[in-house]
């Protein structure tokens, strides 16, 4: 029986999800992986073996690091822009009794 077994289905689409639903109905814990270039697939007779692709995963990590660094730089600049917006919105004479507006 499949109850409690962990099964990963590589590739969604109608076939992938039908297989996942059938396995889940028989008690398996099913995960479907697809997209993001993380999967390689080959055809071997009637079999379609898949595996997680090693090199692309590293490529994805490198790319994510680049994205993260870019966002850090952007948001750091946004900090400065926001500080200027606040300074413009609050004349220096009123600074001591200015209360920040709160969204609820």
């Amino acid at each position: 029986m499949l109850i409690g077994q962990e099964i990963t289905v590589l590739g969604g689409g109608i076939g992938g999800f039908a297989a996942a639903a059938a396995l889940a109905a028989r008690g398996a814990r099913v995960k479907v992986l697809e997209q993001a270039g993380l999967i390689t697939r080959r055809i071997d007779g009637t079999r379609r073996p898949c595996r997680l692709a090693g090199a692309p995963l590293e490529e994805v990590e490198a790319w994510l690091n680049g994205l993260r660094t870019m966002l850090e730089a952007r948001y750091s600049r946004l900090d400065d822009v926001l500080a200027e917006m606040q300074a413009e919105a609050t004349p220096p004479s009123k600074l001591s009794r200015a209360k920040p507006e709160q969204e609820t």
Binding site: E34, A36, A62, N65, M70, Y75, L82, E103
Partner: protein, 160 residues
């Protein structure tokens, strides 16, 4: 010290980025919808600018960012606002023109009032291999540290 960026993969296809800002949600929201403000921060490495910016911040409204790099690089991001709640949320879909069109990328930006300012949350679908390559090819991510570091380290370091 800038506030830390939390950068977490959700499953295999999505990414969630969280960042605190010391300003109220209305200001952070305005900085995401006013071209004059976006052109000051929504940029790449030093030397990059956004000479062209159009933004129609309402449901169905279009936006466009034209980027220019220090060595004559140029590309655009073109998108559409799907849903927008002032000072709270923007859901949008965009693609790049490099100049060929890349697949759509779905994004959602949330602005939440928290003690001391705003928590910004950016949800995005991970671009596929083709779109990632196109983004790298723009040069916008060049000069960035592309150190190979395991995702576990990445997520752990930010999970404080």
């Amino acid at each position: 010290m800038p506030a830390p960026l939390k950068f977490v993969l959700d499953g295999d296809t999505d990414l969630t980025v969280t960042r605190h800002f010391a300003a109220t949600p209305d200001l952070v929201f305005r900085a995401h919808t006013d071209c004059a403000l976006m052109q000051r921060w929504m940029l790449g490495p030093p030397g990059w600018s956004m000479p062209g910016c159009e933004m129609d911040p309402r449901p169905g409204g279009a936006y466009r960012h034209d980027y220019a790099g220090p060595d004559g690089e140029a590309f655009s991001i073109v998108g559409e606002i799907i849903e927008i709640e002032p000072n709270r949320r923007i859901r949008h879909v965009e693609h790049m023109l490099v100049p060929e069109r890349t697949p759509d990328n779905n994004l959602e930006t949330l602005f939440e009032a928290v003690e001391g300012g705003t928590r910004l949350t950016l949800h995005m679908t991970l671009p596929d291999a083709e779109a990632r390559e196109a983004m790298l090819a723009t040069g916008m991510m060049e000069g960035m540290e592309l150190a190979y570091q395991s995702l576990d380290d990445l997520i752990e370091a930010n999970d404080v």
